[in-house]
Symmetry: C3
Subunit: 279 residues, 3 copies
Amino acid sequence: MTEQELKEQILAAVLKAKETNPLTPSITNTVTINFVANAQLAVGGSAAMIYLPDEAETLASIGSSFYINMGTLLPVYAETLPRVIRVLKDNNKPWVLDPVGIGAGALRRSLLLSMKECPPSVIRGNASEIIALANLWELDSGITRDGVRGVDATDSVESARKAAVAVARFTQGSVSISGEEDLVTDGKYTVILKGGSAMCTKITGAGCSLGGVTAVYAAVASPFVAGLTASAVYNIASENAQKNCSGPASFQVAFLDNLYSITKEQVDNSEICVETEEL
Amino acid sequence: MTEQELKEQILAAVLKAKETNPLTPSITNTVTINFVANAQLAVGGSAAMIYLPDEAETLASIGSSFYINMGTLLPVYAETLPRVIRVLKDNNKPWVLDPVGIGAGALRRSLLLSMKECPPSVIRGNASEIIALANLWELDSGITRDGVRGVDATDSVESARKAAVAVARFTQGSVSISGEEDLVTDGKYTVILKGGSAMCTKITGAGCSLGGVTAVYAAVASPFVAGLTASAVYNIASENAQKNCSGPASFQVAFLDNLYSITKEQVDNSEICVETEEL
Amino acid sequence: MTEQELKEQILAAVLKAKETNPLTPSITNTVTINFVANAQLAVGGSAAMIYLPDEAETLASIGSSFYINMGTLLPVYAETLPRVIRVLKDNNKPWVLDPVGIGAGALRRSLLLSMKECPPSVIRGNASEIIALANLWELDSGITRDGVRGVDATDSVESARKAAVAVARFTQGSVSISGEEDLVTDGKYTVILKGGSAMCTKITGAGCSLGGVTAVYAAVASPFVAGLTASAVYNIASENAQKNCSGPASFQVAFLDNLYSITKEQVDNSEICVETEEL
């Protein structure tokens, strides 16, 4: 797998999402729910957010993929999440998990633990969250403590590489870690994506919306390519946005605008680096 | 009823909302709740969003009008919505319904069904939602299948005209359909409003916030004029916003800015076309 | 206490928040939750929003301060709020209350009443809310009627001065009132802050996010200085934003951008006026 081959697959996913307008329902946190929906629309998806169990089941069965972000759990999720995950599994639908806030609360812990039985196609998180998830699932992360404080990463992307590879091998899907450099792995190949903007850490929801966009691409590409495509377009859009902003809010506006108009040339010029994992 | 007469009524509603700052509480979805509130403020309303039954009753009784958007139902709505609709009816308050997502879930279906007994003053939806609502209420829509997929319309505005007229005659209020052209009817007169921007489909909440703004105008005008006024100012603001944007997020910013500063000249120059429905 | 001394303390709080990135969890309304989080990030805080009781307890115990905004109550808050307030008291953590919507509903009333036993470090509200809270707590507000209609103030800041001083003396913390001029008092000193922008009343969440930002500063300064610092930077950022906006939405973008880049010179040039309260 060469860098050029991957770029072709990324570009194919970018175009296919715009052509097919896949319905990508989400259960996501109330803080960034608007940003997630607008980012999904910007890349060509159709968004629909849900709380209730039967509505989630219906949308999971008619949607092309699904996004579950664990940000702000509500009581109804104790019923909604197990039911929707069951429908996703039974219908073999690709879905993306963002294990935000892993470590806080009994419901969150029990839901994330139960997902080991019905694993997501793509897991997207920051380094601390991926390490914590590997530990929760008793996979070999190479790091035994839990590094989560609130919702921000306190570990480097590279330090979570072993955890990401372990989780991807277990789920037979892919794992994406966002950070100064991004890492996407399917357990066999690991891709490092450079670029992006530090302004992403000055707004809320860069990670959440990246998960939602990954779910749009998971409707039109493999879990691995979906993770790569989302990270690649986020790096492109955020780099360009940084050039045209005067602070975090104008950055977010410019970011969504740029996300909406990703070009082939931008994908061709992006920096990605493929490495092979030793088994 | 001439085009010029309608424009005078639209302009009167625009001005009266700014002068009287009507309190327009809403029960609306969490995805676009901020956009709805800011759009209501932009046209002169005072916004207040509620979830709990007794608070909704209080605000329904002191508010000048009310907005109910069915976007993201939560369990508490099973109690809140029937109680608030009862208070709205008992106090003879105008209210606007946006039947988003009609077709998904048992609670949504039962709530929308029950509204046939206490119907809203204005119903605003996309073409597919209006057809589906007419069918749910067993009115003659001319189209028997349900065309809803997620939250986006899959039917043309014109194809939903018969359903809109049937619903408006039943409720003795008005029905607004948003689309490439907008349609507003009170069952006797149907008005087609041209203009607007396709960028409205690239952001989430154009429809939701249109419903919220319609509710502000329903506090100061008849259901028919409220529907017309909201569609007219949305077309004006979105057309102008499109000229000054570089993507969906800057479009939304420019849209709200333009909504805040609608002028008499803009209303005079807008394209509206009145047609009479045969009884 | 001179104006210059206060400005030095304000500047110290501005810098310390940026240096220490304090974790400031919030329970806040769904309308402006995104604005609150982005404003907290803009001034250097780390945001985390919560609904569930055990998660709130965890975050209250690891956070540096906490923000409770009563905007859109949900049923789960009946359990979450008493538990989190207890943890905040037991751990002696500074927290900020925004008593939005005081007067609507039984749960809201009973929660606000119970806070008399475990009072917040800072209370931030508009004039009508502070008067209503003083009345609810049976403190001498000088005004016995309840002036709240929806979420907007109907009283002047000056008319709520007596209520603010009474509440601050009772809580032994500080009280901030936002309005055309802002007032911050610890019951002994009262500071009037001029400046700001009327555009703050044209967007939703200026007050909510001010409360969230006050909580960030409460992690690095006394309740009194936290209230002052938040009001001062809000006045500076909104004044500058008004110069570069063409309506409410571009105002909000410019406001957050300016909030992110407050300078020493701006603080030095801001207008604040210290007065001493008679005991």
